[in-house]
Point group: C3
Chain length 343, copies 3
């Protein structure tokens, strides 16, 4: 489909600065822009590309002032970043969505399925499972006995949800996610370990998105809980009885050990590790690869392993890099002092 | 089902301290205890909850001496932790277990299946595979050609076991586990890499539990071996030709590079990394996020990356946090010494 | 099958040093060598095993000079390491390979399948997918709508490839790989996050091997690109819009955040983390567990988190381990200087 600059501007409440009749049929990144595509410029770091891009149309903030010549048509909007997100959403909405029930699939007689489902081939829906309306369950997904899935949720291919877990509305679970495997609980018994049965479940509230191959373990008793609006990236590990507060965002390959409570609106970088039985205050930000080993007050900003105050960590690390010089300075001082003493 | 305090006490060889006739129908955590449930108090850190919990019955160590009023009935046992593990096991044993062979599933004509199997829909069992008695293979699991699985083992949904691997008795493999993918072996050849075929296998001994999405690579030649009683958490990486000794426990997201031998009864925290071709002595404990780059003697306790003696690491890290002050002290000393010299 | 020493020597352009008629039917590691097997000695660290191995034949470098007695027959070759790789390849080539289309599988009417395919049971091939010649798609793999897969590529069990992704020729994707899940893109909106649709794809060039349960996210726009000859180990995370240059090798559990460009011929250890929007020069080597937070020039060798020059890091870390002593030295100096001042 072709869209004219003037029509896109109207959609986005923007203003055309250039040819209102020029048309595009796809989006591109500004540094790779081709004729017939629309790009955007939000990050000033990328401004130089606008003077050479081949994209036909570029979305810019209304405050943008060019410093060189350029050949594209601009559409000036309040926020180029928000506008491109809106356009991507429209583009995404136009893509055909799967519907219906493909065969062979396995749907237990005692499962209930809402309206307008998509159930892919080789998907499995266990005894007593309750699937809401407009739910999409892609091929080879496993929905265990008694699992509940809310309206409008998308379960991608090969997701595995163990018995008794509960998923809210408008959630997205990417391929390979595992919800509800047994928590890692063993008690020493003589020279070996005895398994502690894990009889709880996992509870995802609404609007949660979980990245590919991420694992969330079932609680020993009660629930491991991921609250409304949480976003977990790929390959994240959430242990048994953890609670992650609303709208917290956790980047890839981070792990949270058992029974730790994470507050709301936290942001964790990638490969962060948090030990068990802690409280992490709301609004906490943790730099990538940090390790948390103690309770954390609200709105902390942390780095290191074990982590402490971010700016202080930066200062310490600068010093760490100077340690050989520091050592030299101490040696010199010792010599000077010995000389002074002998005088 | 309802259970009375006096009956639970009898089961656990405990003593009722309160109302022997009060009954419960579920378990709960002491901090979330509701009427009609049984909770337990093992960790003294949680003692304050016993004075406010709504749980009807609380299991406590027989030595427990309350310091405030409380409203629940106590059952005093030798070890509250062991007792709750016993109860959870009973609870778990009462849950219905899947049996039979669901359709469609794919079972090669040359595979042999033991007594009382569960084989879920869309499970795949390859040519010449040998499945023991009472084995449970959940939906969408893949059992490659020639794989051997011992009695009473549970293979959860979507586990993938490559050709020729061997799994012992009473093992548990959680969803998404991959056993026997090719080891990461490449030889430089001109400007690119040539794959070194990996013709060995993976061998799990008895009583091994493997967490969700954990990967254990097949050996180049011979076997990658996980010995009796080993417990691996989720998202762990075990490279080709590694040997993990009996009853070793490894937390989530740890990785062990090729050909390293880990002793018995080791305990590794999460996100630990161990380079290849090392020997890690039995009884070694490694703190989370540590990195091991050299051979380790028995019963070492380690932290850091590269890791060294744990208490020494703690002392060094305390100093690391003081580096800016240390730097200031050195600057001050230099000034003082220069002043002394000029006098 | 039995092979005689003289025949193996002829195959490998080697020379028999011992009994040319002795025969073997399997390969083994030199430290576990059994009669009737062939082992190899490439790493001098393992030389002592040759004097006790029970292997019937050992491949050695032609320069090998024994320092003790040994009982095996030697085959001397230019490079024992290359020779064993050649033999393993031959052994691997002789193993039976699956062919044909198993049932039930799901192949969309609009998909096109090349010559001599293997499509395992419960595999799913979406609308408009294009599968090349000699492609092997193992059971329970998911090939989304419009996916393109080049000739001779192997897709192991349970791989999930989202809509619109492109895989080159002669690639190997191990079990549980996820290609094309949504990039982790969210924009704050009031008190929660709004998803930014990810409409790009993943593009793997030829000769790429991807380890088990590794995740490569689709681009926001355009492509996440893995160039020719790249080898990724297990449980690696590649975020949206990343480009990994040709013949780069990345060990297990490493992660690269969004839009970072990695050059050619890089080698990264395990558990490395790289933040987003960076350029990593070609030929860069990064030690395991390092963290990269800034652009990196070509041929850098790095360690630490944040990482810097490898030998310098080693020196700093030696000093880190001496920090308590350093602190003592400073305390002593302060005392001495105070004494001098008071004199």
């Amino acid at each position: 489909m072709e869209f004219k600059a003037k029509d896109i501007a109207a959609l986005l409440s923007g203003v055309v600065d250039g040819d209102p009749e020029i048309s595009v049929n796809n989006v591109s990144k500004i540094e790779e822009g081709k004729p017939g595509t629309l790009a955007f410029l939000a990050n000033p770091k990328y401004e130089h590309y606008i003077y050479t891009t081949q994209a036909s149309i570029v979305l810019v903030n209304k405050t943008f002032e060019p410093t060189h010549e350029y050949s594209c048509t601009l559409i000036r909007v309040e926020s180029a970043y928000d506008a491109i997100a809106t356009l991507l959403q429209m583009y995404d909405d136009m893509k055909p969505k799967p519907v219906g029930i493909e065969q062979p699939s396995y749907i237990s007689d005692s499962a209930t399925i809402g309206e307008k489902p998509y159930i892919g081939a080789f998907a499995y829906i266990g005894r007593g499972a309750k699937i809401g309306n407009n739910v999409k369950i892609y091929p080879q997904a496993y929905i265990g006995d008694g699992v509940v899935i809310g309206d409008n949720t998308i379960i991608y291919a090969g997701v595995k949800i163990y018995t008794g877990c509960v998923v809210g509305k408008s959630c997205i679970l990417h391929a390979g996610v595992v919800l509800g495997a047994d928590g890692f609980g063993f008690a020493p018994e003589g020279d070996h370990y005895k398994k502690i049965p894990q009889i709880g479940n996992v509870l995802l509230e609404d609007d949660v998105e979980i990245g590919a191959n991420t694992c969330i373990d079932r609680a020993t008793m009660g629930s491991t809980i991921i609250k409304k609006g949480v976003k977990l990236d790929n390959l994240v590990q959430i242990a048994h009885n953890v609670v992650v507060g609303g709208n917290t965002v956790i980047a890839a390959q981070s792990g949270i050990a058992g029974t730790t409570k994470v507050g709301e609106n936290c942001v964790f970088g990638g490969q962060v590790g948090i030990v068990g039985h802690l409280n992490i205050g709301s609004g906490t930000q943790i730099a990538a690869q940090s390790g948390i080993t103690s309770n954390i007050p609200e709105k902390s900003v942390l780095r290191g392993s074990p982590a402490f105050d971010y700016p202080k960590y930066q200062k310490c690390y600068v010093m760490f890099r100077k340690l050989p010089e520091l050592y030299g300075q101490i040696k010199d001082l010792e010599k000077e002092v010995n000389k002074l003493k002998s005088e």
